[in-house]
């Protein structure tokens, strides 16, 4: 995994929807970085990750340029999905094949010419760390829930695609353990960019890119200053999670006073 030749991916500024130049010098993404992209709907969040995924060379609507190790990447890097160092998982991304989880992963392993005999089991095992609903190797892909599918795709991107940079577009809606995803991505020295409206994901990231009118407005480096708020939000999140589980379990929530 450490043989990955990518030291950094760099985004150079373009312009917003009105044509005003973006106010940053460069955004550098290195292994292990966790970045959130935040901003109102229509502010250009998805366009930014699309630029990164395509390695824009001043040929998209935003005029941004994306470099790998400070150079224009080789074309095969950009065009062949099996060589591409980026995995993009969006809300729309689906597994359409009607086959078992095991067969689906085996197909990908074959396409990648990976010889490890344990990688399929490892991928399922990793996916199960991200979701509360257990995925069995014999499950049919089409019968998985949204959260299970998302978990499986993230695990696949980490282990089978072995992509150094993973782009996740609004994964919070899928019902997965977000903190664990971030933890595992760090463990595997992957960089990740979240497009998100979720306070917890935003505060768990090292950096926040703030979008407005199609351009990057600013980049925030909280550097621990949000520690207190982050802990508070994590507690609130846990409380909400517990309530959610109880609602799902069919309970009536009749507590008096404000819950802790």
């Amino acid at each position: 995994m450490s043989s990955c030749p990518i030291r950094e991916i760099t985004v150079l500024p373009g312009h917003d929807k009105q044509g005003n130049p973006e106010r940053f010098d460069r955004i550098v993404i290195r292994p292990g970085d966790t970045i959130s992209i935040v901003g109102p709907t229509g502010s250009g969040k998805t366009a930014l990750i699309n630029d990164i995924e395509l390695f824009a060379q001043n040929d998209t609507a935003t005029g941004r340029i994306v470099l790998v190790n400070d150079e224009v990447p080789a074309e095969e890097f950009i065009r062949d999905p099996s060589k591409k160092p980026i995995a993009l998982i969006t809300q729309n991304t689906k597994c359409l094949a009607d086959m078992t989880v095991e067969a689906f992963l085996a197909m990908h392993v074959r396409a990648r010419k990976i010889s490890s005999p344990t990688i399929i089991a490892e991928t399922v095992c990793l996916a199960n760390r991200f979701t509360g609903e257990q995925i069995l190797p014999g499950c049919r892909i089409t019968a998985l829930s949204g959260g299970q599918t998302r978990s499986l795709m993230i695990a696949d991107a980490i282990l089978i695609s072995n992509a150094p940079l993973i782009l996740l577009d609004e994964v919070e809606n899928a019902g997965i353990f977000r903190e664990r995803v971030i933890e595992v991505l760090k463990e595997h020295c992957k960089s990740v960019i979240f497009v998100t409206h979720d306070p917890l994901i935003s505060l768990l990231s090292d950096r926040r890119i703030v979008m407005r009118h199609g351009g990057v407005e600013k980049v925030l480096y909280p550097e621990g200053r949000e520690q207190h708020t982050r802990e508070m939000i994590a507690r609130m999140d846990l409380t909400l999670c517990r309530f959610r589980e109880r609602i799902r379990a069919g309970e009536l929530l009749t507590e008096q006073g404000s819950p802790q």
Partner: protein
Amino acid sequence: MKLIIIAGPPSAGKTAVTRQIIRHFQGQQNIAFLKIDVVRAFEDDELRQEFNIPTKKVYSGDLCPDHTGILVLQDALTWAKELESDIFIVESAGLCLRCSPYVTQSLGVVVLSAVSGMNFPLKMGPLIALADVAVITKTDLVSQSEKEVFREKTKEVAPAIDIVETNAVQGTGLRYLIRSIEALPDIEKDQSITLRGIPPLGVCTICVGKREIGWQNHFGVIRKLDGADEIFRGD
């Protein structure tokens, strides 16, 4: 004038790709558009209104749209030339997936949808094999693994084909298609344009209107179910 022939199954995104091509070259090049379809098509009106370019359509009715395309192509080239077009785009409805409307001196583009299933490229033969570029649309909707396998299967049918993956509605990744169009030479000589491949045989007795079922009622290329794995291969 450059000739681009776009083919592919219904709903693959042929017109979305066409739109992106027109959007890119609009203002720099004169573009004309011909749509060949079977019973109904609206693309000609839509594109004319949207981009204010000359468009035309032909309905093939009971004839194969690709056969129709070949019959009218010479006239269509004259039409587009008289309009002083720089780029002439012909979009053909590919229905039986056996045909291939691509001719010499053109850029043959097959549009395939990534959501149509991973074995889909293997079912199409010449529609892919004789094209120069395969534009795979809707890749934003499928998993990484399916995207990779779809690409592999396309390569299996046409090892040298240039694959362009895109979300055609947004136009992502189409820069490589645009580059192929920019590099495409003008038609050298109309009179010497020919089909790249031979279309499927279209002269059995069913084609001429006999409706009875069973091989006993027909003549020409006759096969029984036993041993009919592949009914007929052209010589």
